[in-house]
């Protein structure tokens, strides 16, 4: 009887262990982002990550996740992440980021580059070139850090 019980419980235990392990993976939900050396927005970049890249969670510190990506470890803010799997992460204490896991499954659906291209075709006079120019601009992290320091300002 005891052997039968063990045989019944063991697979359940193994499946649960697997599910808990899966919950430690998160995915990037922004177009681009960075794994940084320290948990600060202007800290040096250790690895660049892109939408849907899977990151292994090492630990959490406030609003920041310490993660590992392709052998590089560092920090990324929770608002750039969502739970990486649908495997019971909600009920087994999975640590999703600021957004729902659905964001990952909705990648490329609905209003997407294909729809934007068709819209641009119908409206050639719109200022998409200026929009691209605005999006390309990014002040360097060092400039931002100096700006904060000289102005007595802070970021999380």
């Amino acid at each position: 009887m005891r052997t039968i019980s063990i045989l019944l419980i063991l697979p359940v235990f193994l499946v649960c262990a697997g599910l808990l392990h899966a919950a430690e993976t998160v995915r990037v939900i922004t177009k681009e982002n960075a794994v940084r050396q320290q948990c600060k927005f202007y800290s040096p970049v250790r690895a660049k990550v892109r939408y849907n890249d899977p990151l292994t969670v090492l630990s959490r510190s406030g609003d920041w996740y310490k993660v590992s990506f392709r052998g590089v470890s560092g920090c990324i803010h929770k608002s750039a992440l969502a739970s990486g799997t649908y495997r019971l992460s909600g009920t087994l204490g999975g640590r999703g980021g600021g957004a729902s896991a659905d964001e990952v499954s909705l990648a490329g659906k609905g209003f997407n580059p294909q729809v934007e291209a068709a819209y641009k075709g119908r409206n050639p006079g719109l200022g998409y070139r200026s929009v691209d120019e605005i999006e390309r601009y990014q002040a360097p992290d060092e400039t931002f850090q100096a700006f904060l320091g000289k102005g007595g300002l802070t970021t999380p």
Binding site: T30, V131, G151
Partner: protein, 296 residues
């Protein structure tokens, strides 16, 4: 037979409750459940969640790009590298102190070559501020207050809320529940029509009619928190609005057309003012660089 009907339903219910991927569990199925049931259950669960889903972050980004493109067709971009960098640094500081420091496409700030006093928060994170507005603010803290107010509109999804519900419901019937990322030509034509209508909805709200009074007051209240967390003086919003209520009298264009009476906003801001005060020495340093960066 009864089992065959119930199993996918039970599995779907479980899937919805647990947010699980049943397809991933197909190797360990209880008796009575086969892979067909699992696929059907997963599709049903996805259909339930997709049928009523809100606009996703990436969709919001494409709406925001189109709204910005429409605004930029009317107001040309001011190309002044020093001012652009400065506005981006101030804007980035308040955005990182908001409840959502990361959006799908990130925050971007730019100045429009227009004397009108106005600012626009395009869904997803692009904020456009007019040259007239840069001239209307007197300190970096006031500029931060204006940008923080716009960041709050983005985080509250006020622009996206302007899209009519029936339009989005129609879009969802085309988008469907399949995971395909590309659409056939007729679906693209229909989706593009809905997209175009959605851009009209948002554009009219941002540029013509303005947000509701409640949305403006919420954005003001929220922005005070961003300013305080960043180290800016939240009172800068009050000082800017006070001045606007005097200088804006008699003006009917730009911000005065699309925003509620500044006297009402002032009352709301005063009653929500946080207790923290900014360091006056640092405030002076910020005002000096403001004067330097905005001398155009």
């Amino acid at each position: 037979m009864k089992v065959n009907t119930c199993m996918p339903l039970a599995a779907a219910a479980l899937c919805i409750l647990a947010g699980c991927n049943l397809a991933g569990l197909s190797g360990a199925l209880p008796s009575g459940l086969n892979s067909e049931h699992v696929t059907l259950a997963a599709k049903s669960a996805r259909a339930v969640s997709v049928a009523s889903r809100p606009i996703s972050d990436s969709e919001e980004y494409y709406v925001g790009r189109a709204v910005a493109a429409r605004i930029l067709a009317t107001y040309p971009l001011l190309r002044n590298s020093r001012l652009t960098e400065y506005v981006n640094l101030v804007g980035r500081t308040v955005a990182l102190n908001s409840e959502k420091p990361n959006t799908y496409g990130g925050y971007h700030f730019a100045v429009l070559d227009s004397s009108e006093i106005n600012a626009f928060a395009c869904p997803g994170g692009t904020i456009l501020i007019t040259k007239g507005m840069v001239r209307a603010v007197r300190t970096e803290d006031e500029l931060a207050a204006v940008l923080a107010h716009e960041v709050a509109h983005i985080n509250h999804r006020d622009g996206i809320d302007a899209i009519s519900k029936s339009r989005w419901t129609e879009a969802l019937t085309i988008i469907g529940t399949e995971t395909a990322k590309t659409y056939g030509s007729s679906d693209v034509a229909r989706l593009t029509g809905i997209f175009e209508g959605s851009i009209d909805d948002v554009f009219k709200t941002l540029v013509v009619n303005g947000y509701g009074r409640g949305q403006e007051e919420d954005a003001d209240r929220t922005s005070l928190g961003y300013l305080a967390r960043a180290g800016y003086d939240p009172k800068a919003l009050e000082s800017f609005l006070s001045r606007l209520s005097v200088t804006g009298r008699g003006s009917s264009g730009g911000m005065m057309k699309t925003h509620p009476a500044t006297s009402d906003r002032l009352e709301n801001v005063r009653s929500s003012m946080p207790g923290s005060a900014a360091d006056p020495v640092m405030e002076k340093a910020r005002s000096a660089r403001f004067a330097e960066s905005t001398s155009f």
